[in-house]
Structures are given as structure tokens and as C-alpha cells.
Amino acid sequence: MKKVMTIISAAVVLTACGGSESAGGIAPKVYTDSLFAVMKADRTNYTKLIIKRLGPAGSGSISPEEHWQDKNNGAPLPAQMFRFGAEAVAEMTSDFSYSLQSIWPVNSQNAPRTEVEKIGLQFIVDNPGENYYGEEELGGVNYFTAVYPDVAVAAPCVDCHNGHKDSPKTDFQLGDVMGGVVVRVPL
């Protein structure tokens, strides 16, 4: 009888654990959507509240520069700020990763590389306002990969990309999808 009770207790505990995990788990889509919400908010705020104010049209006291470290008053561009965040996150966790990609990248290393990136980045350009979700295997690991549109939210985005000699596209307009934020979660 004691043995039977032990088995039943163990079964209850195991069921409870499994049930708890199922009930409390976060779906990958919700997880990546939430992460992107934070990224987008910070990115937009940095662009509008810092770069737009301090750039040529603003105070001029701090100059947004690609090579900001070499300037006494240089400040990182919004895309660089975003990349520094992604690199800092990569040093803290491998539970998720993110990057800024585009089919018109200023740095060719940021062009789509995986099939999901290629399809997803084209999808968000062709379907403004929509996100793209997919799964892919990279390095023997399966990932849930979400691609979110990165929209030109302020004049400096458009002006800098259209004027950069490494930009493959020079006719961006305010509100255009310029690229995408790719968020990956290992499954």
C-alpha cells in the first residue's frame, strides 16, 4: 500500500510540474513580440529624443557620427546603438538573440543570410505593418525566428541612409520599411 501511495504521489508531482510548465509557458511568438516591443520603444526613443534633437537640426552640441568614438562630441547612430545592445545581450544570455538586417544594408554583412531571413525581410517590405514568423535549423539547433519591420521613424533615418555611400538604396522616405529586426529563440 505504501509503495502504491508513493507511486501515486510521484505521478501527481510529475503531472503538476508538467501542467504548470504548460500553463505558465510563454509561446515563442508572444516572447519575441514582447522582446521586440521593448527594442522598438528604446530604438524609437533614442532616435527621436536624442539623435533628432542633437543632430544638425538640433543643438549641435553632440554630433551623431558613424565613427563617433573618434570624435570628441560623437554619439552612436541609432543602428549602432541597437547593435551594441544586441552584442551586450549576447554576452549575457544565449536564450535569445537579435540583429538588425536589411535587403538594402549599409554594411553588406547585414544582408540576409539564412533562407528565413531572406523570405522574412522581403515579406515585411511587401506587407507593411505585418511581421514574419518562421522556424529554421542553424548549427544543429532549431530556432523560432521572427522578423519585424524596422521603419524610418524620423528624418535622420532617411537622410543618413539615402546619403551614405554604402547604401544600395537612396530613395527611402519617412515611414518606409528600411529593414527588419530578426529575433531568434532556440526551441
Binding site: E87, L138, G139, Y143, H164, K165, V182, R184
Partner: protein, 447 residues
């Protein structure tokens, strides 16, 4: 028959114990660990090769353990030069295929130690066309690179894997048209006195507290030294408890830690370079005899400490800038210094002190901290490899970027200690200018 077998077993046992002891003893005593050396070590590492735990901090853990050891010594330097290929660039899963081809997350992928026979410039043990793995399509965005050999990316004075502070395209453009000599050719001036908050009054000869321990000649030297000026008495360095400010006892030859108690920045640099790295590991000081680069036989007995270059009782810092170097080092570059155009500058009349060029001007340059204070970099290896590190901090104080790149890419000019013009021309600035003229005229307030 049985007795013979028994003796064989005993012999086997004795030999086994002997063999185990032979390998175990160095591990227990932490001495003579050369028995475990797998092959010759590189560059500065040979100085600490018998201190296995300097890199192999844990017998388990593999690459991660070695990575920590690499980063522990070289990490700050990589951050300071805005490393072009930090680990974070390769940890994103989108680069999994690249990592499979070239695992750039780990230093030891490219820099395998104990393989001197396979080691190229910069300690790289990979075939030198490794840039191909990720940049094989470079000509699509840089037509000027069409057909260039991938072995030439880093060997031609154009790119480095880690440090491109003086080589990136916009920097080339910014300095493309500078004349070969700067209008004012001088290095940054010393300004330590502006930051000095010395509360001690300067000391006179009759205040020396060495008793009979020093000669009148040494006392006279001390009287005119910056030590006396700063109120540092004989006991300040020679007392047994000098590092804690005490005045008890007498040490004839104070060690480097006494200097470090006041000169912490200089000591930090000294310990980070090849002159002091053994001391930093708690080993005996480096000797001239142990060096693997050309040195004067007559100096073989010398060992490296602060006093190797600085006479502690003297006010003269010039000895450390040239004489101390040429007293030990015997490469062609060093031997040719006194015949070089740099050395001849010192013979001009009416020269400003910051226009004089010495060994230290280039190899121990003055650097300015964020607070504005100018100090001498005492890690004389900090800008040696790759030598393009010297461009911004040293060469461009007096020369154009174009001349600096060409000169540093010409081994013969370096051997002659920069006597004569470079015989090579690096085309990176030309390429950048040509591309800029073709593509760089779009209107943007941010460019």
C-alpha cells in the same frame, strides 16, 4: 621460471612508479614543468611557458578556460582598439555556418600556441587567406579589390583582423591629403606638474636620512632628483617598510614594488609588456640572456626592473629614452638609430624638447588620459604588433597618414630606422579617394 616472472613484475612496478613520479613531481612542486611543454612557444609567451597555469588555469574546461586566460591578458587591449571582430559578432546563430568554417569566437582558433613551426606574423597559425571565409564577395561592393589575393588582406598594410583604428575608410579619407610633414612636428607635451598635488616640501642635502648607507656622490644626485623635489627621502625607498610609509631598517636594493607604491600607472604598463610580464606572473625578472630577439652578448647578465632603465638617484630620464634601449637591444633597427633622421633631429639648434625623437618617443609614447594628464606608456609592446598601431599615436604627430602607412609596410626602411624613402606604396588611401569621388557626393546633413 615463476621467480623470473616475479622479478619482471617488480621491475615493471618500479619503472611505472618512477615514470609516474617523473611526471607528477613537477605538478606537485610546480617547478621544472618543461617536461609538459608540447612545442616551442611564441613571442612573449616563451617568457612564461614554464608557468603552465598562466594559461591552463584549470585542467578541465577546454577552450573556455584558455579563452579566459587570453582575455585576461589581452582583453582590455582589444576593447581599447575597438576590435573589428569581437566574439559578439560570431555568437549570433545566423553565423553558425561561418563559425563551422572558422570558429572566431575563440582566440585559439587562429592563435594556436606551442606550434611555432606553423606560426605566421601576428601569432596566426591559420593559413593566411582566412579572410576569404566571410569576405569572398568583397569585390561586389569594392570593385578595386577584384582579383586581390586573400593572403594580402592583412599582410599589405591595408587591414588587420582586430585593430583598424588607423586604417578604416573614413579615417583614410579624412587624412588623405595631409602633407608628409606636419607643420608643427612634435609629440604631446608633459604636463604632470599641473596635476601634482604633492603636499611634501622639497628636501635639501642635509635632510637625507640615509646615515652612512650612501656615498656623498649618491646624496648629491638625490638632491637634484625629482624624488628630493617631491619630498621623498632615502628611507622613502630604502626602508624595509617603505611601501607602507615606514622608516625602519635599510634595504640596499629596493624592488619594483617600492617604485610601484608611487608610480602605479608606470608599473602597470611595465608589468603588461615583455619587460615585466614575468614579474607580473610572480616569476623571477626577465633577463637579457633569455630574450629570443637580437641582444648584445655583453648585456646578457642584465635583468629587467625599473632600475634597468632608470637610475633611481638621478634626475636624468633621457638615459631611459635611448641609452638604456641600445645597451641591450641589438637588432638592425636599433643599431641604425643613431644614424637615422630621427636621431639627427636632436642635433638641431633651438629645438623644442617635444620635437626630439628617441626610442621612447615611438615605443613608449606619451598618452593622454581622459582627465588630460599626460603619462608615458611603459608597456613598450603596446603599439608594436601590428606596427600600424603606431600610426595614430606616434607617426601622425609628425607625418602624414600616407607616409606612415607606406613606411611601416616596408621592412627595409624599418631596418634602416627610417633612413630614406619607403620603397613600397600601399594603395588603400588611393582606393578610398577614388571610391569617394565616384560615390560620395549625395546630399546628407549627416555625412
Amino acid at each position: 621460471m615463476a621467480g623470473g616472472k616475479k622479478w619482471l613484475w617488480v621491475l615493471w612496478l618500479i619503472l611505472s612508479i618512477g615514470l609516474a613520479g617523473y611526471f607528477a613531481l613537477p605538478l606537485v612542486t610546480k617547478q621544472d614543468q618543461g617536461v609538459f611543454l608540447m612545442g616551442e612557444t611564441t613571442q612573449g609567451h616563451h617568457q612564461i611557458e614554464l608557468e603552465c597555469a598562466a594559461c591552463h588555469t584549470d585542467p578541465f574546461g577546454g577552450k573556455e578556460v584558455l579563452q579566459s586566460a587570453c582575455v585576461n591578458c589581452h582583453g582590455d587591449e582589444l576593447k581599447a582598439v575597438n576590435d573589428s571582430h569581437p566574439k559578439a559578432k560570431f555568437t549570433n546563430p545566423r553565423n553558425a555556418d561561418r563559425v563551422k568554417a572558422l570558429d572566431a569566437r575563440y582566440c585559439v582558433t587562429c592563435h594556436v600556441e606551442h606550434r611555432l613551426d606553423k606560426t605566421h606574423a601576428m601569432g596566426v597559425t591559420l593559413p593566411t587567406d582566412f579572410c576569404f571565409e566571410c569576405h569572398q564577395d568583397v569585390a561586389e561592393t569594392r570593385p578595386s579589390h577584384e582579383g586581390l589575393d586573400f593572403e594580402s588582406c592583412a599582410s599589405s598594410g591595408c587591414h588587420n583582423f582586430h585593430d583598424n583604428m588607423a586604417l578604416y575608410e573614413d579615417f583614410l579619407l579624412e587624412h588623405a591629403k595631409a602633407p608628409m610633414f606636419a607643420e608643427v612636428a612634435r609629440v604631446i607635451g608633459r604636463n604632470a606638474e599641473q596635476f601634482s598635488a604633492n603636499p611634501h616640501p622639497s628636501l635639501q642635502l642635509n635632510q637625507a636620512d640615509a646615515g652612512n648607507n650612501i656615498t656623498a656622490e649618491i646624496a648629491a644626485q638625490w638632491q637634484h632628483s625629482s624624488h628630493a623635489e617631491a619630498g621623498v627621502n632615502c628611507s622613502g625607498c630604502h626602508a624595509e617598510d617603505a611601501t607602507s610609509g615606514g622608516k625602519q631598517g635599510w634595504v640596499e636594493h629596493p624592488g619594483q614594488q617600492v617604485c610601484a607604491s608611487c608610480h602605479s600607472d608606470e608599473t602597470e604598463g611595465f608589468l603588461a609588456g615583455k619587460h615585466g610580464m614575468r614579474v607580473a606572473m610572480g616569476l623571477s625578472p626577465m633577463t637579457v640572456a633569455a630574450a629570443k630577439i637580437p641582444m648584445h652578448q655583453a648585456a646578457a647578465h642584465k635583468e629587467l626592473s625599473c632600475n634597468s632603465c632608470h637610475a633611481p638617484h638621478s634626475a636624468d630620464t633621457k638615459t631611459a629614452a635611448v641609452e638604456a634601449c641600445v645597451g641591450c637591444h641589438a637588432s638592425e633597427h636599433v643599431s641604425n638609430f643613431k644614424r637615422s633622421p630621427h636621431a639627427q633631429i636632436a642635433e638641431k639648434e633651438g629645438l623644442h624638447p617635444d620635437e626630439v625623437v628617441t626610442c621612447a618617443t615611438c615605443h613608449m609614447p606619451r598618452i593622454q588620459a581622459a582627465d588630460g594628464r599626460v603619462r608615458v606608456q611603459h608597456n613598450q609592446n603596446a603599439n608594436l604588433r601590428p606596427n600600424e598601431k603606431m600610426i595614430r599615436g606616434v607617426c601622425m604627430s609628425c607625418h602624414s597618414l600616407a607616409f606612415s602607412i607606406d613606411a611601416l609596410a616596408d621592412p627595409e626602411v624599418i631596418k634602416r630606422n627610417f633612413k630614406g624613402q619607403p620603397s613600397v606604396h600601399i594603395e588603400s588611401i588611393d582606393m578610398a579617394v577614388e571610391r569617394d569621388e565616384k560615390k560620395g557626393h549625395r546630399s546628407s546633413v549627416y555625412n
